[in-house]
Amino acid sequence: MANTSILVVGGGFSGLTAALEAAEVGHEVFIVEKNPFLGGRVAQLNKYFPKLCPPSCGLEIQFQRVKNNPMVKVLTMAEVTEISGTPGNYEVKVALKPRCVKPGAADLSADAAALSKDVPSEFELGMGSRKALYLDMPFAFPHRYVLDKENLTEAETKTLARNGAIDLSETEKTLTLNVGSIVYATGWKPYDVTKLTNLGAGMVPNVVSNMQFERLTSPGGPTSGKIVRPTDGATPKRIAFVQCAGSRDENHLNFCSYICCMASLKQAAYIREQLPDASVTIYYIDLRTPGRYDNFKKRIMADEKVRAVKGKVAKIEAAGPGVKVTVEDAVTGLKGEDLFDLVVLATGMQPSLAGQKLPRGLEVDEDGFLVGGEDKGIFAAGCAKLPLDVMKSAQSATGAALKAIQTVKGR
């Protein structure tokens, strides 16, 4: 008997979409997410372009759909280690890391606050810290704390051992899933800024990545959404965006990351809303605002304090508390310098699978995007396949869900 269950690898927006769309047709779906919480990249965003609406709104709908549908099974802190079998009959090995917190949305905020160690938060991308017992964000789903035992003192371990909501004995486990088809929705990671030597390699103070800027502006972020200069908390007056930080560059990402132009325009809108005196300069090669996003571009560019300069940024260096940006203006051809209080690098998206050891049967191109596999009943969705925005990822994931269903149907 062939298996009609579907495995979705990745619990970000694409994975959630693929899983739910398939489950709501009646298929059993497993979501395997490597992080402790679902939501992926969009959970880190402050707002979506072009509506400037909060991503948590759509995530809330998705999480409700997960909660209300017994056909969706969520595995967090989980990674696929091995795939064997054939379309319609796959056996998948999944490694599960211990969460050390029992099921149930227990409020462990007081227990967490009592812990001594502040650990840099992966979720805040170095902009903030967390405790050893934590939720990523107010919305975290599953709404269940996670404990990283390594960052506890001995005394704290003893105290927590007595807490009924905590299970220190939990260990790593392996699970075998039997599924008929597989959707890979492993998404993307921000390109590593340390590789961008001319742009400061992540060493120049007050130069942040666009994803870090999302955290900086998010109401749940380290500053509760207040836009400040990271080093001294000052209110920035002059802010620059450097487009194509890694993208469209053979030495880094040999493609355009699709979202960065719209993201910078969106972030310019955050700044202009919050800081009426601040000015924004966007250095770009082409402003890529396809389709009806043109309306958004025109709206943002109508603001006289938002300026777009066609030019390649040649160098970024510290200048006192500020940042000096050297630009080759493509229009005038002149090399110029300008000083800013804060610089945002529009870092590109690198597929999460780039440079990863992959289960047998998966194939990626030189940039790390999944290719092929469709004949095997393994389908890529969202940014694992192509650089896309959220709307197009949802579209891609819905299409991938249909292909997964076609694979398991009528076998």
Binding site: E21, E24, G26, I61, K310, M391, T398
Partner: protein, 754 residues
């Protein structure tokens, strides 16, 4: 209706002062008849807590469960029981333990005495939770025997892909194409830009093979030379009239594609006046036949055309406005029915929206010229090749024979049998003149839905999708997260009728829309709602005896679910319904209800709230009707982040502000409640309401609320609607506190104490 309610109190969710024992005593004393079991437990959201409740269910002691614990947004996996029980939740942790602060703003700590305000608050929430269950029933869904055939409109690239995808998934398909042959615009294409990895090469479209595959598929019935004349009925039971013939279909994939923008918009670039100035579509046909031209300019910059177009459109809009003003004073006939008028939405802006396809087409067509040994010169403003197609752009740049110039075009003139292009080279900052044999102009993708209703619904609200001007005529979704949601359940758009998109994207898009169409059929055949309340089995029931045919419900339904008979009595279509309850909110006679959500239920909750007879003895009271989708989670999170709000408010979640019936407000006011705060989603152009119109309609109904309150002798200012987004967790408690300050300034409700 439940007769044996079990109340379960979670001791871990009570905060430092409340005692489970005292709460249990209160419940027993007040609800001796309705409540059969009251228990408390140290932590209910554990296997042990779950077992405690399940044991009572198994013993037949309870038929409904009221869980006083965490927010209902959490732990639903744990609070799932076997047996036919109703389950509802009282949000003790977030709204009481964590949301409560003393009237002076101080926070309770262990050992403090129980303040009267907190006692009353906890009792009010308990009462509301129990009474809510007494007004609740298991939804008994109507399960239609729906047809599973999928109607695909449009036999072009997207429609063909959709038809084939649906057939492969096992569904029967009716494919309707207005032309005499399948294939659509793709038939005229010489080649396509990349359709697959490595995304560097021009490819054959493969359209002939696709057409053959569709024709050979036994599950697909093709209807050529026909359009959808009428779509009658509802998902699962549509009757589509196609070429005079009635066909039963379950759901629809709309893939009617696009029309090229009127060439009048291209006149500023010489189209129609200068020989050898052609559109990209015309050039594609030439390319298919074999190229003659040696030097061809491709223009991807549309600034000149848009500037001229905008001027013309502004003048036209002004004239229309003046005409409308003049018509306003003309006498209207009594009882005149509104006649549907379709407003054409084609605009020069469609040129701008097509930038990606124009850039890619220029790269592709310049490649044709280069491959034929000529020179293809591309003039662009922004090379709009986002994403993976950057690779295609790079490959084109490396092609000898393709030249790219960033510049704006100022004009074209004929000279010596050829053409001279006048451009401003943006990079070099100088005017240039380029001699070419031919100039190829961009096109504008104008969705077919901008030119006509297309769907021809027989719905009361009209034959077309409503408010497509928000999307510039595209049959698109206003959700970013849910791209296939239209305002008409059961109809899912794909391809260029939804958004301008490449053929590679349209192919995926067709599959996505097909899945939604399948899902719609699958859900309705299980008696379930589709997005955003997917899985909901409740649906609105009408007590027609009391209906006065006022038509408000039929007019206000955001999804056009309700038709009406000639007398004006609403005719529900449960499979079109999204269960938002807007009809229930609209009905002045209160004849519409859901089994698990109704006017009586919320009204009873509102009325059970204890209102102290005097403001200075026990404080004011206000009711917050909070949208359960966004405002409610925002308050949950505010509480978990340590923000608290006035102890004088009671929060009642509603499905959508659109479902708020004004009687609830009147009930509250006549009981002496000092204020009602409605917390809902943003409305307007970039609305965030999950049900599109709910919060906007609620705001519009405020006029009626004001009238009825005035009749009661209550100041209408006591009712305020505020927009709260889900991430406004910092603002939401502040909005509540400011509202209470405002209410205190207004003073007590004149009805207080009666």
């Amino acid at each position: 209706m439940p007769e044996k309610i079990g109340v379960y109190i979670d001791e871990s969710c009570l905060g430092p002062v409340l005692q489970a024992g005292a709460l249990a005593e209160f419940v027993k004393g007040r609800f001796g008849k309705e409540v059969s079991v009251v228990r408390s437990h140290p932590r209910l959201n554990t296997p042990d807590g779950q077992k405690l409740i399940q044991a009572d269910i198994d013993a037949g002691d309870v038929d409904a469960v009221c869980i006083c614990s965490t927010s209902p947004r959490y732990d639903s996996d744990i609070f799932t029981f076997t047996g036919n029980v109703l389950v509802d939740r009282v949000n003790f942790r977030e709204f009481i333990a964590k949301g409560y602060k003393n009237p002076d703003g101080s926070v309770l700590k262990t050992g403090d005495a129980l303040p009267e305000e907190l006692k009353l608050m906890a009792e009010d929430y308990l009462k509301m939770g129990i009474l809510k269950l007494t007004k609740m029933d298991h939804p008994a869904p109507e399960i239609p025997d729906g047809t599973k055939t999928i109607l695909v409109l449009g036999g072009g690239w997207t429609g063909l892909n959709a038809a084939l995808s649906a057939a492969t998934a096992g569904f029967d398909v009716v494919l309707v194409e207005k032309d005499a042959q399948l294939g659509g615009k793709a038939l005229n294409l010489y080649k396509s830009f990349p359709l697959s990895a490595p995304w560097t090469d021009t490819e054959d479209t493969g359209i002939e093979k696709l057409v053959q595959a569709v024709q050979a598929n036994a599950k697909i019935t093709v209807k050529l030379g026909k359009t959808l004349e009428k779509l009658d009925g509802a998902p699962g039971m549509y009757i589509a009239t196609i070429g005079g013939e009635d066909v039963a279909v379950g759901s629809v994939v709309l893939a009617t594609g696009w029309d090229p923008i009127s060439t009048k918009y291209l006149e500023p670039l010489g189209y129609g006046k200068i020989k050898n100035v052609v559109t990209s579509a015309e050039f594609e046909k030439l390319a298919k036949q074999g190229l003659g031209a040696k030097r061809v300019a491709f223009i991807a910059d549309v600034a000149v055309c848009v500037e001229a177009g905008l001027k013309e459109e502004a003048a036209k809009a002004e004239a229309e406005l003046a005409a409308a003003e003049a018509a306003k004073d003309a006498p209207k006939e009594e009882g005149e029915e509104k006649v549907f008028v379709f407003k054409d939405l084609e605009s020069c802006k469609h040129l701008c929206y097509s930038s990606e396809l124009n850039s890619l087409a220029a790269l592709k067509q310049a490649g044709y010229v280069a491959d034929a040994g000529g020179m293809g010169l591309i003039f662009y403003d922004h090379m709009m090749v986002p994403g993976i197609n950057e690779r295609y752009y790079k490959a084109a740049q490396d092609k000898p024979g393709v030249m790219l110039t960033k510049g704006t075009i100022s004009g074209i003139r004929e000279e010596g049998g050829g053409l001279v292009l006048l451009a401003q080279d943006t990079l070099l900052g100088e005017s240039i003149e380029v001699a070419v044999d031919m100039v190829v102009l961009p096109t504008g993708i104008v969705p077919t839905t901008a030119h006509g209703p297309v769907m021809n619904f027989t719905y009361r609200q009209g034959p077309a999708f409503p408010e497509l001007e928000l999307f510039n005529g595209f049959a698109d979704s206003n959700y970013i997260c849910f791209p296939y949601e239209t305002r008409r359940t059961g109809v899912y758009a794909a391809g260029c009728v939804r958004q301008p998109m490449t053929m590679a994207t349209a192919r995926d898009d067709a599959q996505g829309a097909v899945l939604k169409a399948i899902q719609c059929i699958s859900s309705l055949n299980r008696g379930m709602a589709v997005h955003p309340r997917s899985g909901d089995k409740s649906y609105p029931k009408f007590n027609f005896v009391r209906c006065t045919q006022c038509k408000r419900c039929t007019e206000e339904c955001p999804f056009g679910a309700l038709d009406d008979d000639p007398k004006g009595t609403p005719m529900p279509n449960p499979t079109r319904c999204r269960r938002c309850g807007t009809c229930m909110g609209a009905c002045p006679e209160r004849v519409i209800s859901f089994d698990n959500y109704n006017v009586d239920m919320i009204g009873t909750m509102v009325k059970c709230i204890e209102v102290p007879p005097k403001i200075d003895q026990g404080g004011p009271r206000a009711i917050i009707l909070a949208c359960e989708n966004d405002a409610y989670p925002a308050l949950d999170m505010a509480a978990m982040r340590g923000t608290r709000w006035s102890p004088y408010v009671r929060i009642i979640p509603v499905r959508c502000l659109g479902s708020v019936n004004t009687i609830w407000i009147a009930d509250a006011m006549s009981k002496g409640t000092d204020g009602v705060l409605l917390l809902g989603c943003k409305y307007g152009e970039d609305y965030q309401c999950h049900f599109v119109k709910g919060s906007e309609l609620c705001n519009r109904r405020m006029v009626n609320v004001a009238d009825s309150l005035k009749r009661l002798g209550v100041e209408p200012e006591r009712v305020v609607q505020q927009q709260v987004a889900i991430d406004d967790y910092a603002e939401a408690p502040r909005i509540i506190d400011e509202f209470m300050d405002y209410i205190l300034k207004l003073g007590p409700n004149p009805f207080k104490g009666y």
